[in-house]
Symmetry: C2
Subunit: 362 residues, 2 copies
């Protein structure tokens, strides 16, 4: 691939443009927002700006549609109509887009390969664009039996060039998966925050008691709401199914609380804890790993102190999270580090006045 048409230059489009330009590929872009398009060229994300999808597509081997999900299908169709040999997209919902493209252009749809990079977010904007955004990230592709093999290969190769790891599932399966891990959590956090938000003195009291755990759970509710109605409508069926699962399970838990069934509650809690602890982490260090839990006070500099200590000792922190306790503002730094070298790090932390709990990872 020597020339790519880029439709949409937000965070994802801009990052794709930066990465492709760095790889020596010529990127010609179009965007409904002329100011953003100019900014993309200034940032070096695109070589040339154009005023239409047809102009962007001319001479390009691949067109990438990187717009909000509600506009993807029509722009994929426009790119196919303009003669793009291969078209892909980055929309966070897949089956409805595939269906719309197939319905509109049954003969050309084979040249479209649906995609969804699990990196960045529509909320961040062009100024957060980064050529390395996709390095090591999962990029879902959703080819169907109708997909042209050449188009499929071209998109795989392009995504590989961006440094992403490819995972392929059906469009419907993709939509079910993201409903469970992304869309329903967003709605659950939003609703939890909404239920807690009452007015007046009551609110002030509630919020004085709302500490780290509540903040963790509702953090995603603080993001830009604008993208979600489109996603919810596009992925309606999968979200309703996953929400119904969640509602059913919550009703069971409510029943256990009402019945005072501590044993059954403990089972659910233990199952969830085990699943949460086994969430795969993005680990880049070799050999056995250990988890260190370090309770930390709520003051600036603590994180820097702990991470600097690791840096000075040459300890690579494979994963770091700050777990807030359910109550209070203080927290626990949870780190995953290679077993090799952990002794020195632990001793240094203790010498610096920290308490360290260490456990081997299963």
């Amino acid at each position: 691939v020597r020339r790519v048409a880029l439709v949409g230059t937000g965070l994802i489009g801009g990052s794709i443009g930066l990465a492709l330009t760095r790889a020596g590929i010529e990127v010609r872009a179009v965007d409904a927002d002329a100011g953003r398009l100019t900014r993309a060229r200034e940032l070096g994300a695109v070589a040339e700006t154009t005023g239409s999808v047809a102009a962007a597509v001319e001479g390009a081997e691949v067109a990438i549609v990187a717009t909000p999900v509600g506009r993807v299908a029509e722009l994929v169709v426009a790119a196919l109509d303009a003669g793009a040999p291969v078209v892909t997209d980055v929309g966070s919902v897949k089956a409805p887009i595939l269906r719309a493209v197939h319905a509109a252009r049954p003969d050309a749809a084979a040249r479209f390969v649906g995609g969804h990079p699990m990196a960045g977010s529509e909320q961040d904007g062009l100024d957060g664009a980064d050529a390395d955004l996709f390095a090591g990230a999962t990029w879902v592709l959703t080819p169907t039996p109708a997909t042209d093999a050449g188009a499929h290969t071209t998109v795989r190769s392009l995504v590989g060039q961006l440094g992403a790891e490819i995972m392929e599932v059906t469009p419907e399966h993709h939509d079910q998966l993201v409903a469970v891990v992304s869309h329903v959590p967003q709605l659950a956090a939003t609703t939890l925050m909404d239920v807690a938000a009452v007015t007046g003195d009551e609110q002030a009291m509630l919020m004085r008691l709302a500490a780290g755990g509540f903040r963790d759970m509702t953090r995603i509710a603080a993001g830009d709401p604008g993208i979600w109605p489109d996603i919810c409508i596009a992925n309606q069926d999968a979200i309703v199914t996953a929400l119904d699962d969640y509602l059913r399970s919550l009703a069971v838990v409510r029943g256990l609380v009402a019945a005072g069934d501590g044993d059954a509650l403990l089972q659910v809690l233990e199952r969830a804890r085990s699943a949460r602890r086994n969430l795969p982490r993005r680990v880049t260090v070799a050999g056995p790993l250990v988890e260190l839990r370090v309770p930390v006070p709520d003051r600036p500099g603590v994180l820097a102190e702990v991470t600097n200590l690791a840096g000075r000792l040459g300890v690579n922190i494979a994963d770091l999270e700050i777990a807030h306790s359910m109550e209070g503002e203080a927290g626990v730094i949870v780190m995953v580090v290679a077993e090799a070298g952990v002794d020195g790090f632990e001793q240094a932390l203790v010498a610096a006045g920290y308490h360290v709990a260490r456990s081997a990872l299963e």
Copy 2:
């Protein structure tokens, strides 16, 4: 107060012991776990260990019960029976404890003042104990019209000595508030994780797509499950009421998704966002504040780099959170800093290669 009886020496009891000892108060403790009791003395949290509540209470002006919630009522009664002039506790549920104490000892119950410090967690253990754990934290007291005024004043003064800020509500009101901000969020996170946890390949795929937002929302599900059945049973009524509110609101949201009502969804999302953004922060800097949002890559040292930069410039970070985007592993450092001095900090961040979004706080 010159002598305090401490019943229970976990994280909270141990921290109380350290703070009181530092203030020159003699702490005499009892704990069902003899090893932990010895460790508390070794840590300097208690001056003397005893083998019974009666022995601990002898000569003490106040007894503090700091055990898991399921055992609080019986130990409060034991302390009253042993002649403690004033008794308080740190249980995370209040009305059932008050009711049990009143039922068991109607005449002595006036000497008991219920309490709940919003700091630490039963999950952390004695080794996380810290004399400053309660500095600036909210400590809820739940006196009732039946409470003896002298007992009330004594407990207020003791809590003030620990550095905590006192908030007083009725026991029932306390239980409703913590159900909303603590107990229901725990059950919601647990259930979300449990619903997402299926077996085999499906699980591996789900978890490859489960990025920062999902991790934030389910983090509290990774904590020790053991404390929750007791809390759920003790606070049964308030939790069921709050869970029903949550279930009702989630069912409304499900209906909006099913109906494809984007406008109404946007309203809910915007209301929740506004409430989340207005969560009070623990702010210790004077003057107007600004919020800086800095997208950061997923590599060790980034936090240290950013916080060190602030340290070098003398910029006090009043609040710091790491907001994971819903997709991908990278995140955004969200900092609240004083407007005075923020220009230099922002310039230094940009010079170091970061993108910085700045906004004034309402």
